[in-house]
Structure formats: C-alpha cells, structure tokens
Subunit: 332 residues, 4 copies
Amino acid sequence: MILHLNKSIGCDRAHAIADSAKAFVIEKDDKFVLISSSSHKELDASYANEVSEHFVFENDMQLSSKKYINATREVKIGNTTIGGNTGNTLLIAGPCSVESESQIQESSALLKELGLTTLRGGCYKPRTSPYSFQGLGLEGLKLLKKMNQEHGLTVITEVRDATHVQEVIEYSDVIQVGAKAMYDQGILRACAKTQKPVLIKRGFGTTLQEFVQCAEFVLSGGNENVVLCERGIRTFETKTRFTLDLCGVSYLKEHTNLPVILDPSHAMGHAYGVPDLTRACIAMGIDGLLIEVHPTPKTAKSDASQQLNHQEFKDLLKTMQPVANSVGRKIV
Amino acid sequence: MILHLNKSIGCDRAHAIADSAKAFVIEKDDKFVLISSSSHKELDASYANEVSEHFVFENDMQLSSKKYINATREVKIGNTTIGGNTGNTLLIAGPCSVESESQIQESSALLKELGLTTLRGGCYKPRTSPYSFQGLGLEGLKLLKKMNQEHGLTVITEVRDATHVQEVIEYSDVIQVGAKAMYDQGILRACAKTQKPVLIKRGFGTTLQEFVQCAEFVLSGGNENVVLCERGIRTFETKTRFTLDLCGVSYLKEHTNLPVILDPSHAMGHAYGVPDLTRACIAMGIDGLLIEVHPTPKTAKSDASQQLNHQEFKDLLKTMQPVANSVGRKIV
Amino acid sequence: MILHLNKSIGCDRAHAIADSAKAFVIEKDDKFVLISSSSHKELDASYANEVSEHFVFENDMQLSSKKYINATREVKIGNTTIGGNTGNTLLIAGPCSVESESQIQESSALLKELGLTTLRGGCYKPRTSPYSFQGLGLEGLKLLKKMNQEHGLTVITEVRDATHVQEVIEYSDVIQVGAKAMYDQGILRACAKTQKPVLIKRGFGTTLQEFVQCAEFVLSGGNENVVLCERGIRTFETKTRFTLDLCGVSYLKEHTNLPVILDPSHAMGHAYGVPDLTRACIAMGIDGLLIEVHPTPKTAKSDASQQLNHQEFKDLLKTMQPVANSVGRKIV
Amino acid sequence: MILHLNKSIGCDRAHAIADSAKAFVIEKDDKFVLISSSSHKELDASYANEVSEHFVFENDMQLSSKKYINATREVKIGNTTIGGNTGNTLLIAGPCSVESESQIQESSALLKELGLTTLRGGCYKPRTSPYSFQGLGLEGLKLLKKMNQEHGLTVITEVRDATHVQEVIEYSDVIQVGAKAMYDQGILRACAKTQKPVLIKRGFGTTLQEFVQCAEFVLSGGNENVVLCERGIRTFETKTRFTLDLCGVSYLKEHTNLPVILDPSHAMGHAYGVPDLTRACIAMGIDGLLIEVHPTPKTAKSDASQQLNHQEFKDLLKTMQPVANSVGRKIV
C-alpha cells in the first residue's frame, strides 16, 4: 500500500506513521510517500485522516505500477531523456568486455562517427567459470571514465557483486545490475542511495513479478531513475542462447511505469539473428536497445559469437530509423 | 542424406537404390530425390556413380534445410504466394472458433471490407477439458466452405486428431496442424498425400529441431507446400499465456527454407499485447501472421481474452503497412 | 460440477437433466453421474430437488479429484490390482521397441524368470524424425499378443495416433497413451469406450492440470480404469533427457484419486541413473514403474542409451523390494 | 587442465609455470596443483617434463570431476563427516528464518530431543520484495552462535550478498550460498579463503554445469570443503513451487566428486509433499537433507506453507531410517 501524506504533517509524524505501518518513507516534492507491503489493504484508523491519497495493490509491484503512476517515467541517461512522451529509443552499444585501451578507443570512435552517445563495456564479468577471462576490473572502469572524459560518451557498465558496487557507482554514468546479480540486495540497496540511473537486467530464470520487485528495492530506497532490461530467459530451447521474451515486454509496458530497454545480443547469442531481432524490438515501441559490437568479434575475450563487427553494426543502424519512424519513435 | 538421381535411371532402379539406402523417394521434375537418415554420411559404392548430387546433414532437418535449398520456398495460399522473393506477409485473421453462421459471416464481412483474403476459424478445438466447448466439427467445416464459396475467401482450419483429417483436407484450403497435434503421424502422413498447403504450428514444448522434423514428415511424403508457425512456447513465466520465441524465428529463417508465419494472439493470451507484438513480428520480416479477431470477444466460446474486436483489429491493420514498408515487405 | 441422481429417476429424465446442464452422463451402480463444467457452481432450480448429492470443483479436475472420491481408485492390470489399499507397486518392464520375435521372446523369458507379469514394448514409435525406425506396427502388436498367449504376460503398448487406436485396443491388455499423443481426443475418446485399463503419459510440456484433464476425457466417457504416468518434463537442463517431476507426483497423490506410475528410464535418458531413480520412485509410495530393459541395449533401434541390459535389471530388481518394504509396499 | 607438480620443484617455479599456463595454484600435501581453463588440452613444452601428472577435461568441471578424483570427497560438518565411504546422510533441520530467541530455542530443543546435530536458520533472507520480512541479520547470527555454544549444535545459515559474507563466515559453522547468490563471485571468493564447509545451492534457473562451476570458484581458490545442494528448479509447472531435479542429482553423483544434499522443502513449497519427497531423496543415496521445520508454521515470517510442524517432523523422522537402511545408509 502506498500512502501520501502532506508535507505539512512534519517529518516526525511522517516517520511515526511509517513505523506504525512498517513502511518505507520517501520525501518527494510536497509530500511524504510511504510504501508498505501490498498485504496491507486497509488504512489504520489511528492515521487514516492524515492520509491525503492512498493506493492499494494486488502484489508488491507498487511504485513501479501503472496503477500508481499511469505513464512511463522519464529517466535521464547522460544528456538524453527516455520514457515519458519523448518517443526516444536510446541505442547503447559497445563490446561485451572492455579488453584494452585500444579496443575501447576503437569502439568509442565508432560511436562518435555514428553520432551515438552511450557506450557499454563490461569490467567485472560474471563468468560461469573461474578459468575464463574475468574482466579488467578497476582498470576497465578507469578506461570507461576516460572515454567519458575524452569523447563525452555516457558510459554504462555492470556490477557483478557488492564488493565493487561503490567503484562502479563512482566511475560509471549508468549502473547496470546484471542478470545474475539482480536479486542482490547489497547492490540494489547501494543503487538506491545514488541518483545515477540504474539499469536492471532480468535474470534468465526470473519471473516478471520478481523482476519488477527488484526495481522496487531501488525505488523504495529513494532512487527513481530505474530502467528495466529484458535480455532473454532460459527455456528448453538450445539452438539459441536464450529466448527474448517480447510477450513479457508487452506485460511490462502495460503494467509498469518504468522504461524498458532490450538486449537482443545476449538473447540470441548469435550475431546472425541480431539485426532482425533489433528491428522487432524497435517495432515494439521500446525505450532503448543494448547491442554488442566489437572491432574484431572473433578475437573477443567473451561472447565472441554474438557481437557484431563494425560494418555489420553500421549496416544495421541504417535500417533502424525507418522502423522507428513507422511506429513514431526516434533512435537516439 | 539426400541423393539426386537423374530421371533416366528409371523408376525401378531409383526404388532399388532407395530400398538399399532405406530412403524415401520423391519424383521431382527431372530427378528422383532420395532422403535417408542423416546418420548416413557416405555414399554406398554400389550406387555411388549413379548419384548426380548428394547432400549431407548434421541432423534430420534435411529437405527443409538451407543447406539443401538456399532460399525460402514459395508456397501458394489461395491466390497469394508467400516465400521466395515475393516480400509478402500474409495476414490471416478470424475468430478462434467458428461458433455460428452469423458469427462467421460477420468475420468474413470484416475481411472483405479490409481487402483481406484469408479466414481462420477452428472447428475441432483441442480443448484441455472435456467439459468446455469442443467446436462445431463438420458443421463448422461446412460453414467455412460456404465462406469460401460465397466470398472467395481462402479458409484455414485446424486438424485436432487423425479421425477427421480427411474431412479437413476436403473442406479447408489450408490444413492447420495444431500445436498439440504436430507430432501426430496420422495427420502428418495424411497431409503428405495432399498438395494443399499445410501450416504446422510448433508445439509449446517442442524444440526447433523437432518442429522442423515434423515438417520433414510432410516434405518427405511428397507435399512441398509446408509453412511453419511459431505461436509461443511454454516457459516458467505465467503473466502471459506463452512466450513468443522470436529468437527461434531467427533460427528458422537462417537455417530452414520454409516460410514462417507467426501467431502473436496465442502467444500473448491477452488482447492488449497483440498490437505491439504484431508489429514486432512484421519487423522480423516474416511471411505471415495469424491474428484472432471476433465480433464480440467477451462472448467468445474459446480464448475470449486474447481476441481483438473488430475496431481494435482495424486500428491495428492501419499501423501494419508502415512497419512492413520499413523492412521492405507488403501486407497481403 | 458432478451431480448424483438416484437411478429411480429413470434414464430419460437423467438425460433430460444432463442436456439442460450440458453434462456427460455415466450410469454407475445405483445412480446416474452427471458431469458438467466446473464453472457451474449452483444447482439449477428446475432439477435441484432431484439431485441426491453434488460436488463443486475449482477446475475441471472433477471425477479424478480426491474431493470426489477420497481414496486412490483400484485398477486391475491383468491379474494384478493396483491402487486402493493394495500396497502394490507394479513393475512393468521390457524394451523400448518390439524389434523382432527373438528379441521380445528374450524379454519375455527374462520377466518369467524373475516372476514379473507385465511386458512393455512399443510398436508404433512416435519418433521425431521420419528417417528413424518407426516401429513394427501391426506385426509388433501380433508379437505382443503372442507373448500374452504363450507366456501369460500382460502386455502394454503405446498408441501413437488415432489411425491405429482400435488395433491397439484389440491386441494390447493395457492401452498406453504416449506423451506426444495425450491431448489426442481421437485416442482418448476411443479409450473411453473400452473397459481396458488406460495408462496416460504426461506430455513433457504438459501441466499437471492439463494432464489430469486428459484423464477426465476417458473417465467422463465411461472408462474408469485410468492410470497416470509421469515420465519427465522438458526443462532448461540438457545433461539429462528430461526432468522427472516428483514434486508433481506428490501433487497428484494429494489431489487426485488415480493410481500413479513412474517411468524413470525416459526421464533420465541414461542407463546409469535408472537404478537410483527407480529406488527414489518406489520410496515415493507409487503404484507402479515402467523400466526399459533390452537384451543388448547398444544395438537397440530406439532409446539405446537409456535401456538397462538384463544383468543390470536383475541387479536393480534385487534392491527394489527392500526399499518397497521400508515404505510398506510390495513390488509385484 | 589440471597439472600436478612435485613439491620439490619449489614455490617460485610452481608459480612461474602457473603464470605461463594462466593457472590457479593450490598447495596440497606433497604437490602443487595447477588448474587452468579446460580449453588447454596440450602441455607446453617449456614445462612438460616437470609435470608429474595431468588431467584433461571437456569443460570447466575439473577439480569437482570424477575424472580427477574418482570418489566422493569427504567433508566434515561439525563432528560429522559426509561423503567418502561414510554412508552418512546428514539431516539438517530448522526454521526458514531465525525470528526470535524463543523460536530458535524451541527449534534447538527439538533437534536435541531427536538426537540431531545440525541446525539451519536464515538471518539474511533473499526476499523478492522489499516490503517483506528481510531477516534479523547480525542479531540472528548471534542467536545461532548462541545455539552452537549452549547446545553444541552445528549451525548453518545463508549469505545473501557480499556485504555480510565475512560476518557469516565468522558466526556460522557452515556457509550456505543461496540459490539467488550462487553466481556471486564476491561470496564465492570469500568462501574460498576460509576452510569452513560451504554448501552451495543450485540456482533455480541454473544448469548443472554452471552449478558445478560455481563450486570450482571455491575449490580452485583453496577451500576443498564444498557441498552441492539441489533445491528445485523453475519449470512451467506452477502447482508446486519448484521442480526437484533428481535426474540432475543422478548426474552429479555420476560425474562429480562432491557430496550432494537435497532440500525437498523449498522444491515442493507445500508441507504435504515433504515426507514422500524426503524418503525419495534418501533412497537416492544422497549425503544429506535440508528440511524446514518450525514450531508454528502458520505464523512463520517466511515460507509458511512449506514448513513442517514439530509433530510432523517427528513422524517423518521415524520413517527415514528404514528407507536409509534399505539403501545401506545411515541418517545422522
């Protein structure tokens, strides 16, 4: 249940009511917003007449629900705003992993050449084997920061676990919570305490409700700049790496107020399918895309098979704007 | 393994070789086409020099493979051809079930008004409960035939089991093998003996390889007019009815030579998601769509929640051609 | 909803009420049993006072529900009864496919030597490729019949599709509805018209509710001799062929009144796991087992990797009775 | 690839070779054990003659593989050893969450009364909603420690994220890595640096290979006391909470050298199925069990529906030893 209290009630009284309702408190403009479990359906008589507005929910998708805010929230990523009525579909691109300065410079140059603004690159790779390349760590973060400073690119990178979440918050412009880490409250609670935008990837075994509830950890902790990212779920099918869940995206668009970004590269796992899937994603009317592109995919230290090379990416980009136009959106 | 034998070899010798190779035989234009298990990798010396061409495969996706025919096959549905270089995306629409003459006349009128040619409607419903509406059966088939005769519509309906496959072949212009029936060899072998087009729906628990191999039953039996239909697979996610597998569609487009049609209505299970998903499907560059539309969805005897009403369908149709244009395709 | 009407009401009136309630009718001992959709929750005033007893359900698991009959039904398989208070766990064994008379004689000899009574063997194999061995068909059925006549073995074989369901009903003592055919109403309705026991395998993509509802097709059609068989569901895990769903078995035991048989061979797909899984199944307190055993598994024409050889099967059998004893059951 | 080097080679040379082979190093008794990626198949000539033994693997299940150690490793949990030839099946029991001192005292008393040694209880609960009870945290850890000191019970509790991993290592006798945290390298690497036993739960969307590779993070970091725990995977079936994967357990027993413990409570999600499943697990011949039991399940702050009450647990315990006996094992 969400309660709105007029600010005039005062901080002490707001927190007293919150304690009594076992609720989180957010101060927002002219009001206090209290969020307690969705199992609470009735206002307590002891404070009912102090509540200016309240909202009841079937489950713990609350702050993220269209029943609370009947629109898509705006989130600012660098100088670009997505969501709301912007009609923007933000194209985030770059290699799976930051591997070296020369590589990430090449990637940055590609983005600049194409007029793109937002660079992705993993530094802490959540590899399933200890014997694979694990990412450059802090050195990678510094390279991304350099790309930001030298080229004005907005950078986004993934937190793997809570031990380095503060470093990522410090160096990266957007915090990506990876598919394997999205239940991690150490990360989510840290993300709630910054105002930097947070992109949460859906775990491949995660239901839509659990996914959205992870966002609630950040929202209820005080950071409203949350973006959801569908990147494929794990099913019985093995010819493709994962199964991109566009039905789930329809659900998220209908029922939540958070911008939705799609990652067709990880879902497909094979470069050949990325162009068709990218165009399909755009036609869904979504708020952004994450596409993996690498100067020389065959030598990539991770996800070699699914990254486009620079020419493939340029060819794909040319086909994106027409699809976006056809559904009234703009690739930015 | 597929072998090509020159027709001059004669029917007896072709069948003798086929027996020796445990192969199916198709007579095709100027040659005999022999198909045996993909586990055969080497030509037998006793007939090797009589083989004009041969093809080896990793698995039993053979006649359907792009390694055999490196293009999408053309299939004629009524007066429209899909596949090949046609660029056509065939829009098949109609109610889940044929419920009455007045209902199916309304559906036909809608299609005629919108310039559409192909009407769907179930007569033998594969309901999971014996206590639900099971379809009108033969009476429904006759109504569909009437729509074909009165309005010139191409009609498509589903075979539920082998007991009525001959009736469906007789009355329907396109034979639909349903998701729950697609392993049914009684149906597949009957479909192989007609030349009417066969649309095979992927089972919701069916791998892509099994799916394509079902098509091989029809192709190897002598009917080349086979179309694949992805309609959602069953995953752990329950907020939507099924999960539309567009990664799988990418795989099919890359690896098979069969036209691919998509059914977003069954995948989503909720009317609200059908428009976005339909546009996404079109942007994938696929060969056709199956959309459920009903004069009054709320009173529908099956699948009430996922059928569009007539106005929603008209609104959707207006948005389809622009997306199709953006990827060089035509809604027909 | 299930209604009981006293027999004295007369056949005509019973059917009149059934028509009005859109219900199936079964004559049973001293009463008429009417079954209509579970969406009916209220008795119609026009016949309410003629109803001796009625049962309301949440879904269309009705005749099979413990809410209707609060016990496990007894089903006679050959001379053995399972279910009820028998404590019997029936061990059904034999090869995946009937391949030749000598092979099936060897299998029969093994069963006789071990004091077992029930022989399995597939004649119509639901292979996923048209280019694999498809089974001996009617010739196989005749071989099974011969084993029944020569050795007194109860035989069970699978119906693949409705084209040969009458032959299987004629030749086999137990009708197996395979995992790929279990939605097939042509088969289910034919099984409803015999009184031979019917073993329905759960489809690998089939929910428990759908599974039980398939049994309702047979039960409501008048054949009460229905047994459920769990044989593994399809999940994301590929190291094993399927995933044996023992949680689902707990659900079936708690909520349905039908005997449950398990098939660890198909679930595992590898002979090495069959002994441990078999013992686990027995410890669940189930009504029977289907185990694949072949004279020479390596040369088997289907499912070579999962069949035990005769020695492995004998070794396994020795370990079965102690586990059965520990949970108060008897291997028969 | 795993290399064994004789200790006489000296620490410097061992590490030089490890650097050259991009390998982890463990000092073990009389040798250095070097582990590098399984993609390495050939010994480098520069050090080949210094290698006393080497092992090649198909994938990165290496230290955990039966191809490396062809037995189940022994792991000491408190005063009890599992694995090896002990035949022990360790019964770990207790509430889902530590809720209060009185509650955990009741649980401890139950264990003492029944002669059990190992108490479970969650302090950092990985809840999917921020608005649910999140566990007592450090206060809970201290209560567990108290149970250890007052009653001599071995205690096990779960790490939710890396922010509190050191506390759990300090207070708990066994470190449980939860199903949602098992990819977390911050946790896994911390666990590698202690010698306390680590129980890793399989994620519900995690393949067996990924699961075992998580164990490799701990093993290759120097802690050999690793136990695997299967607790149900997420499938399309929703009548039960998860699907206990006993086929997967067969795979783990056949291919890995790590002890395997099962958690039927979380898999089933309903108390009614726990007894049957528990007996099935024991009959699999596994090394341990995690069972949830609560003084008053209905008032439990988490997982209320799946916890047994004390009487149900006692009744279950009486049935466990006979099953264990039947497969040559001992409940401890």
